[in-house]
Structure formats: structure tokens, C-alpha cells
Symmetry: D2
Subunit: 380 residues, 4 copies
């Protein structure tokens, strides 16, 4: 089967540059896809780093100016994996140049930026997707199937956390290379955009719109040295962010993200409680889904730990045999596979830029509520 | 060793009447105590039920009017285990009659009632205690020791839940015998006073005062039949209650109680995250404490599940041998033991009525915030 | 309801004396029973200890010679809770005296002793029961119901462990008061009779007869000081004991007991794998049953953790409310309740002395196989 | 950095052909290695299948006769991933042709075959390795470090299981394509060589030689249809295999493998109990190591669940960030990385063919003991 090539130009070479590059290479080896990604070029301001990255991942060429990348006629798709403050400018320009677009999350540093990005891809009528990769965890894809089948009945509660502990030390500097997530001018916000955005995208996908929130944020360490200048400066980001709220379906919301939860590395959790069933999941054991079914025989009801490695679990037929788990990077591979499958049918794979904007509306409401100490209605 | 007798008069014969009676009988068998409780009388309006209860638990006599019980000179201590709307009146009268006082939680239906009760026992200068029994879970007593030893450093986060699912069915009636917890005129509130009060007492004990809250409550099923009349009536209680907030020590609060979390029977959970350590616990496996110590060697850090059954764990030397767990009712036995130990030294065992009032201040703030949609400062 | 009294005479005042006494007192408070145990007398050679014990538990009198106890006409039932080397003599004499008999496990130090005991109670035609208390763990009682209902289909595998770590230190002395379990002349054997006997009784009850075994034992520490003399002496017991084997139903057996499994206090585990279902359980979380049902929908199959605290779980209606766990001593309470219920119907409650003998046949085969290095057929 | 090429010729295109090919491709992207594998040719009897496989994984060419593959001068290394009955012949021929050798496990169908293979590679003095991939699970590599550091003290017990359930149905055919593992003439044995071999290799690596065993095997379903002929034939393999035994260091062994343990897909477990520490692990959550350290403060001792995803855990610095787990296939990637690292230093990476032979000596003893019903000494 001769596959069509899809020529990829990547902007960024950090952590996300690696996960995306790996996904482009692995997806066609494990999934039967109408397109095969070709790694045409990677773009980074520093030519040496771009070269090293290109050599490692097999990119055919490098660029040091994203504008040059966008102008290249041999590139079909621009993948934006650079820091948050560059997303809007690059994506809008790429859309105008008619490129397909993949963009790391959060889409914009705020909903204003994100809305412009949505407008740009819609004007250009070009395929677009945001890398909210956790939608492609097989356990969560299964959970969505179960929800869509109506197995949960009326939903009462949805709660979700993203707990980390890597910024507790006062000695950790802020800003600059590798530490831009601690600089709100680059990142847009702290954990709200970095972590809570994942919780929110997942919640919108599984449980529908969030309508209102009452939030609080906290910055535990008020000053840190800058990684480049060494100067002590006020910390501009939120270290922790939490909210209570309501979903459009009447269920309650309880969300929290922090980088100060000692003992948790990347503990993204979620739990949903419905009339007839409940489920929970966490990223530290991502290959398991916990499920409680009230329709089970009364004396045998309990929480079931489903090891999501069977052939009839989403995505898993393509991998190994039952009992053998996959890891974090597979979520990106699945997302590429779904994107290419959709492309083959001239369809779009979610989450689109529009879906990314919906997340930014919620994170904007969270930040506003934390500031104003009021309930905030979520825009849409 | 000749022990002094402590003559007990119990008001109420329901679920809590059983746990208390069992505790009075078991405490002296397993703990070496200066006093031995003698079950003098149980009081219930229905004489037949009082008799049956008395016979089962070995009460020497019955009363059908609590005022008669209080007047008896052969009673040293009144234990109030009747519905919430009777707490204040009975306790205040008993205090005036010079009796020692034990009272089921919540102390009052609100802080106004609770304050009058505190005033009464303080005026009478009589020993008093509220049955916030979970302070005597060995795992939590150990946790408090660890906190007091400074092992956690600065505290960043405290979160706690109490999740049940027993009121999800629309067919469940409200009010009347055994169902007064669904009638706010009797109970004071719904899950806020019934469940969240436990979370709050524990938090105040472990992490100090809560200063402000932003809360929401929800009543999912708006009308239920009354258990006696069969008439459909508006539901007056909160089915779910949650809040975000702040502790006096600067840590963030995240609390939730509900009777609509399918799959959870009595899942009281708590987690505390400090600079140097974290811990978590839940009631479904109450004999375990999860503990994370950042001072462990880096590559060997992890959450430790400590099976709290060893002789050097609080209360456990009195029970069996390592590895053999205790159950729910033991928390009441421990509380009686502590009360009697303290009495032997002319001291009071916490939580006192004053401690009970502190909880009611928080629950009042929660209910007010949920109603007003504002942040509320907690009184003290 | 006026209950008949059942007058109890207890021999022994150690760990098991406490669990039995507690059970006699608690059973009638929580279960509706035709008989009420009355604690008539406790017997111990040391009068002071007997007095202290009697005072604590409410025994009406003491004896210092078990023969005197047996002769008393005001005693209906003799409960043998003294060290293993006394079981046979006391039980046989008590049977001849026409007493009902309860006996701690193992029944005899070997099957020869046990057989004589069985013959004695059968000749006397007196109710008899062995304290294999774990049959009354609600989770395991439920498991037996599920097995009896045919939910597992053909059984392929049964495995069970009893892992402790309390004898690892070389400094632990052997023999004498409180340490007779390390003296084979008193105990009969080491872990084989002390721990493995529990695994075996449970297995026979759940999965039927064991037909043949190939076993090994190990004594890791060859010499220990005697607790009384201080003299270094050879260790006579087995520290660890394991076997492979076959059940009469064709399933395979895999058993192990040890006091050298660092990190395990009293980890009694079992797992049974059938054609249609599997289950597992362990004593460290005795209120949970893990259950896998192959008839579940394919993509939702998983191990379910059933929190055995609901009203439709065996024994649990008598205790608290769903979600609230019980502890170790409840198994003895349940056993007393079942014994008295059976007595009310002139029936016997299992495990009888005959059942205790069946266990001793297996432990004898295990010890023989370990010694002979041959497969051994289990007598019956 | 210009890397040297290592030209690979693969024999076999099944499950293991995929895991190996993926490892050759992924290793150099995540690890800094002196050699880069080049996928020169894949060999399969069926040319169409070989072509499809080559296209998917990027092999430059195909062969349909492994002899032709071996003769090619552009091949440096032969990777034997074909059914067990072909291992010896191919490997011995390849060694004679001077090729480096990787071979799937078990090395031979029995120790006789394996010994010839060892002799061949030693005569040729060529690098050789067996794909006992689980040695490269980061959690187990960490465990070995801990053992080597003497943290466990004297070892008392080692136990290990490999539990599957995929052959329970009587309708499953045996033999032929994809089902050769049920044909002992091809596979050598059933679960003993397929599963138990993994348990044994791991045990030898972690705990040293096994000296003697008493074993049993069972074939639950005696006849199955052949997948090609449809004819009902006797089942020749062992469905379950278990043994007790002793290690050279004096610790006890308890091993079991089966394909009839309902509810377990690929539950490879191990536990090691030492004087000072214990550890356990299972493949269903391969990114976790459970560790108990007796040197912890007494009241804080417990089993720690270490999430093996930090930069100071073996292999993990090359992957993502703390908290993000890897999957099954990573063990093969690590093994290729280690092989190439060793090659760069002119060293060999374990497990060598000699190590593979050591496993076969144990499996031969297990099968002999099961047949003879005697204890068997393990050859060496």
C-alpha cells in the first residue's frame, strides 16, 4: 500500500519536540494509516541545537527562523512546540500560509490569543489540532465510550487534580531556557495553563461545558532568582490553582493543580460519579481504569481495576499482547494516528483549536475569579 | 486495683447509642483505666425500645424523659446520642445539673446553639467532650504525632473528602425515625453537619484554624416523600457540600462531602502536603497510613503504606499482635479510654465542646458562603 | 426473650484466652442468639494471673488445676486455649466428663493426638469445635458462598501463604512463657502447625481435600538461647514450610508459611483460580475480597475490590453501616455466634474436631515429606 | 558524532520480530550509543509476509532462507526470533559464519541444544546475548543495584510467578502458525520454557544459582484440535508448572507458571525477603517497585511503592520527566542500548548464551522432577 506523504515542519526542540517527533515516527509502524509523516525540517533559533535534534530524529533539514519554515513549499504541516508566547504568532502566520496546524497546549496564553488562532485556522479552512494528548490514553478513551453509552446515568460529581512537587525548593531559579514555565510573561500563567488546562480539557471532553467557577490561586514562594541574570525577582506565576464550580449538566466540579504536592510527580487524576456508575483514573498508572458499576449484583459490587491492555480496548490491538502495558509517549502516537486517519477521510481530529479555546475560556475564568474573589461565568 | 465507678446515663438508642455503649463496656477490658463506666440508665421516649436496648447492653434501668435522667443523683455523666435538635437543650440542662457531658457531633445545629452549650459547660466547670471519634483512629493519632514532631515542614495543601452514596435513589423517603438526617430542621443541615463536620474537626486538629472559605452546596433531588406522612415535600438539606479555602498557616484547603458519590460507602479521606513530607489516609482502610518522606534517599522515595497494627503505634499495644487490624468501633473505645485517663488526672480530653464549637463556626461559614456566593471569614 | 445460659470454663489466659473471652462477651450483644455465654471460671496454674484475668474479663471464679475445672458441675463447656501440648489431655478428659468442647488450633500436636481427641468427643457425643477462626472472616464466608453457587467452574489452582517476620532476630530466645511456639515439644512443630494449619483448614473448607504433597521445611537459625535458662540450644522447629501438591478436585496446590518474610506481620493470603472466576484475599486487609469474573463484559473485565461491609455480606448486618470495617477479633465473635446458633438447633458448627484432624493429617504429610524428600499421600 | 553502523539480519517476523525491530530503531533515538543498528534484512519463509514486515519496519531487503541471510557479507549480527525449534540450528550456523548473535529465549528447547549453542559462540568468539528482556525493566535493574549494595542482608525467601489465562478455553486449537507455543515438539515444553524460564533467569540474576528443585506439572486439557488439520490430538505441553527448591545462598525457592490463572494476563511477579529488606514487583505495573526497609524507624516501617520514573532510576533519564511511565517494549530498547554500549567497549552484555544455558539447566531439572517425582539437582 503506497501511502501519501505528509511533510512536517516542527518548531521547537524541547520536551514536546521529542514527544511529537517520536509520535510521527512511531505512528505508521503500529497503525495502518493513509499518510506517512515525513520529517522535513525542524526549526530552532540556535542552529547547533537544531542540527543535533535533526540528526537524532531524522529531520531532513533545519531552519533557524520559523518564518522561513512557514514559507517553504515542501512543508504541509507546521507543528508548534515552542514556548507558549510564540504559539499565536506562529500559528496565525502558518494558517495564513495555508499550512495544517498542530499546536502544543495551552493554545494561547489566554483566550484572546486563542480566539485569534481559531479565527486564523477557520479563515484558512485548514486542519488543526491541539496536543491535549491525554484524550488518547486508552483507559480514558474507553471511559468516554462508556459515558457515551449512557452507562453512568445522571452525573453528580466530577473532580480532577494535577499534582506535582518539582518547584518546592526555594533554590529553583525561574525564567529562561527550560524554566520558562515559571515566567508568566512567556507561559501566560503558572499551573493554571500548564497543568489545570489538561484537567479542564479532559473534563470538557468527558462531561461537557463548565459554566461557572469560584477559584483561588496561591504563590507560595514569592521571589526566585532568574536563571540567566541570577537576580532575585518576584515570582509572577500561580504555584497552585483550585476551583469549585458547576457543569452544564448539573454536576459539581472540584479541580486543583499544584507544583507543591510533595510526593506526587505528575499525578493527574480524575473521578466521575454518576447515578449508575463511577470511574476514576490517574496518570501514575495510566494503563488502568477503576470502574464501579451499580448494576452489579449487590453483594458483589466494588471498584474494578481494569488493566487496559486487551485487544478490545481502544488503540491496544496495535500494541503487544494482553497484560503488557504502554507508556506516556503512546498518547502522542495515538493522537498522530487519529489525526492522519481523519485526514484520510477529509475530516478533523479533535481537539481542534476551537476545543483549545474552550479550555482557555475556563482557565481565564479561573484566573479572574481568583483575582476578583467572585464566582465567574465561563465565556463560550 | 479497685477502680472508681463512673455512672453513665445515655440519651438515645440509635446507631450512636450502640457505638457508645460498646465503648463504655470494652474500654476497661483493653485499657488500664482509673474509672470503670457503669451503665446506669438509658433514656428513650419509647419505653419498649429503651428496655430492649437496656437488656442488650446491660443498662441497669431506663428512663423515658431525659429530664428525669438528668435529675438522678446516681448518674455522673450524661451522654447525648439523640438527634441533633435535642443536643443543646439536653446538654445545657445536664450541665446545669452538674453532670459531666459527652455529646455526639455536630455539637449544635449551628454555632449559636453550640456557643450556648460551651457557655453552659464552662459555667458548670464540668468535663465535656464531643464524639469526633476519628481523632482516635490510630493511623491519624500517629499522623498528628508526626506533624507535631515537625516532620512535614511548611504545609502547602490540605484536602479532605467524605463520600457516600446512600441517598441517590429518588425513592428514599426523608424525615422521621432513622431518617432525620434528611430533615434540616432536626439535623441543622445535610452533609455539611453530618459528614463535612468530621473532615473539618480532623483538619483543625491536624492543621490548625481555617480562616476563610468559598463554598457551594447542591441538592440533587428536590422533593422526597416524608417517611411518616408519605407526602411529597421539598428537600431541605444539602446533598453535597464543597469548599476551597485557606488555613491560618497559609496552606490551601479543599473539602467535599456528598451522599451522591456512587461506589463510596463512607470514604472519609484526607491528604496533607508539606515541604518535607506528605501523608494520606482513608476510612475504608482505616488501619493504614500512607506516608511520603522527602528525606528518604532520592531513588528510593515513594509512598509507604504503613499497616498501623504494631505495638509502637498509638493505642495498638492494647489490642492484638502486629498485622491484625482493628475496626470502626475501636475509635469510640479509644475515646472513652482517653476520657477516663484524663479524668483520672483531673484533666479534660479533647475534643471539648469548645472544639466542637470551632467546627460549627466553619460549617456555618460554609453554609453562608454557599448561600451568599461570597468568600466568608470563619468566626472564632 | 429469656436466653438460656451456657456456662463456660476457660483453660489458658494468653493471647487466645483474650480473643475467646472477648468473643463470649460480645457475641450476644451483636447477634440474636438462643444461648448467652456465662463466664464461670478461668483456669491457670498461676493463681495471681488467673485472678487478674478473671477480674478483667468478668469470670466469676478461678481454678488452678484444669482437672478441678472439668469436675465442676456448673460448667457446660470447656474452652481449651492453653499451649498445644495440653490440648489432647484436657480435651479428652473434658469429653469424658461430658463437657462441650472448644479447642484452639491445631487440634493436636500431630494427627495421632488429634485422632484420640476426635474419638473422645464422638464417644461422648458432645458438641465440639476448633478455633480455626478465619472461616468467619466475612469476605471468606462470602467466597465460600460464591464457590458453592458454582460461580468458579472447574478449579485449576489454589495457593496460600502465611508470612510473618517476628523471629528473624538471632537474639530472640526460645521456649518458656510466651515463647512456647518456638519449642517443638510443646508446639508440635513450628510454622507448619502454627501458621500453615490455618492455610490448610481454609483450603479444605473452600476447595476440598488435599491428596498429596511434596514439601520442604527450613530452620534458618539453628541455635537460640532458652528464655528461662539462657542456655544456647538447638532450634527444634521449622522456621519455614512450603509445599506443592494436588487437591482431590484436580487443582494444584502451592502453600507456604514462614516467620522470616521481612515486612509481613501476619500476611495470610489465598488465591483460587477457576475456569470462570478467580478470587484472592489477605488478612492485612481482611475486610476486602478481590474478585474477577470472566463472565463480565470483555472490555470491562478486571479485579474488583469488594469492601465487605454491606448488610448483605455475611455477618455484617449485625455490625455498623456500609463502609465501616471490622477487625480481627470479630472472627472469634462470629464463631461463637455460629456455635450458639447451631446449639439452639441441636446442631454442630464447623470446624469440628474431625475437621481439625483433617488439617493435622495434611500437616503430618507435609512434615513427613520434608523429612523424607518424597511425595506423601495425605491420610484421611 | 558519526556513529558506526551495525548491520542487522532478523530471522522471524512474529511478536518478537516486532519488539526487536522497534528496539533497534528506538534505542539510538533515546540513548547515546557508539553503534547505530541498520535494518539490513528480514528473513521469513513466506516472501509476502517478509515484504510486508520489511516495509513496515524499514528493512532494506528480505530473504526467504536463513542460510542465505547468514551468508551475506553485509550482515554483522543475526537476531534469531523464530520458533524455538529453529534456534539451535540457525544460531550455530550463524556463529560459524562469524556473526554476532542475539537469540530469543529460551535459548534451546533443552539444555543439550543450548550447550551446543554456547559452544558455537564461544568457539567463534562472537558477541552473543539472549533476549531475557525483563532484566532491563528499570524497577528490576534498581532492585539488582540494591541487592548488590548489600541492603537485604541474608536472603531467606525468593518466590516468583508467571500467571496467564489465555489457554483456558477448550476450543483453542494447538500447533501451527501463531500457536506453536502449544506444540512441545516446536516449543520444547509448555509454560516451563515459555514463562517459567523468565522467572528463572530473573532469579538467577538477582539471587544466584538454584541448586535443587521438586516440581510438578499439569496438563488440564488433554486433547485439542490442531489449528491446521482440525484433528483432535493429545496435548503435549505442560499447562502449569511449579516447584519448590533451594538457592545456593540458602534461601528457599517457590516458583509457578501457568496459563490457567483466570484474571491474569501476564502477571510475572517476584518477591525477595532478606534479613534487612524485602522487595516485590509485578509486570502488570512494571514501573513500580515495592520496597520494605527494616532499617526505617520502627513505627514508620511499611511497604513503599516507588514510581520508577525519576532521572536517578536506571535508564529513566533518557525518557520523559518524573511521573511519566514507560511500557513493555522499552525493556527491549534498553537491552539493545546495553548491547551496543558494551560492544563499543569490546565487552559483552548479559545475559549471554551461557546465561541462557543456565536457565535451561533449571527448566530441564524442573521437567525431570515433575516426571520422576523426585528432587532433582540442577546441573551447571
Amino acid at each position: 500500500m503506497a501511502k501519501k506523504q505528509l511533510n512536517v515542519g516542527l518548531v521547537g526542540y524541547g520536551f514536546m519536540g521529542r514527544t511529537h517527533s517520536n509520535a510521527f515516527l512511531q505512528a505508521p509502524r503500529f497503525f495502518d494509516l493513509p499518510y506517512k509523516p515525513v520529517l522535513k525540517a525542524v526549526c530552532a533559533r540556535n542552529a547547533d541545537r537544531a542540527k543535533t535534534f535533526a540528526e537524532n530524529w531524522g529531520y531532513e533539514s533545519i531552519e533557524t527562523d520559523w518564518r522561513a519554515l512557514i514559507e517553504r513549499s515542501d512543508i504541509d504541516l507546521i507543528d508548534v512546540a515552542s514556548p507558549n508566547d510564540t504559539h499565536a504568532e506562529i500559528a496565525i502566520a502558518a494558517a495564513k500560509a495555508g499550512k495544517m496546524l498542530l499546536c502544543e497546549k495551552p493554545l494561547g496564553r489566554n483566550a484572546v490569543e486563542a480566539k485569534e488562532m481559531v479565527d486564523a485556522v477557520e479563515a484558512a479552512n485548514t486542519p488543526n489540532m491541539v496536543w491535549y494528548n491525554y484524550r488518547r490514553v486508552p483507559a480514558l478513551a474507553l471511559l468516554r465510550e462508556l459515558l457515551n453509552e449512557g452507562r453512568f446515568g445522571r452525573i453528580f460529581h466530577y473532580r480532577s487534580q494535577f499534582l506535582q512537587d518539582w518547584t518546592i525548593s526555594e533554590d529553583l531559579p525561574q525564567g529562561g531556557e527550560g524554566l520558562w514555565r515559571l515566567d508568566s510573561s512567556v507561559a501566560g500563567s503558572g499551573v493554571t495553563g500548564d497543568l489545570l488546562a489538561h484537567n479542564i480539557d479532559m473534563a470538557l471532553w468527558l462531561n461537557g461545558p463548565i459554566t461557572e467557577v469560584a477559584a483561588m490561586t496561591e504563590t507560595f514562594i514569592k521571589e526566585r532568582k532568574h536563571s540567566l541574570t541570577g537576580k532575585l525577582q518576584p515570582v509572577s506565576i500561580d504555584d497552585a490553582s483550585s476551583f469549585i464550580g458547576r457543569f452544564g449538566n448539573g454536576s459539581t466540579a472540584m479541580f486543583e493543580a499544584t507544583r507543591y504536592a510533595r510526593g506526587h510527580k505528575a499525578l493527574f487524576t480524575l473521578e466521575i460519579n454518576g447515578e449508575k456508575a463511577s470511574a476514576r483514573w490517574d496518570l501514575h498508572d495510566l494503563h488502568r481504569l477503576e470502574f464501579f458499576d451499580h448494576r452489579d449484583e449487590s453483594r458483589l459490587r466494588g471498584w474494578k481495576s481494569i488493566h487496559i491492555t486487551d485487544g478490545d480496548h481502544p488503540y491496544m490491538k496495535q500494541w503487544w499482547v494482553p497484560g503488557l502495558q504502554i507508556g506516556y509517549e503512546h498518547t502522542f502516537i495515538h493522537q498522530v494516528a487519529d489525526f492522519l486517519q481523519a485526514l484520510g477521510k477529509n475530516e478533523s481530529a479533535a481537539p481542534s483549536f476551537q476545543d483549545g479555546l474552550a479550555v482557555d475560556y475556563v482557565t481565564d475564568a479561573v484566573l479572574a475569579s481568583a483575582k476578583n474573589r467572585n464566582w465567574e461565568v465561563v465565556a463560550s
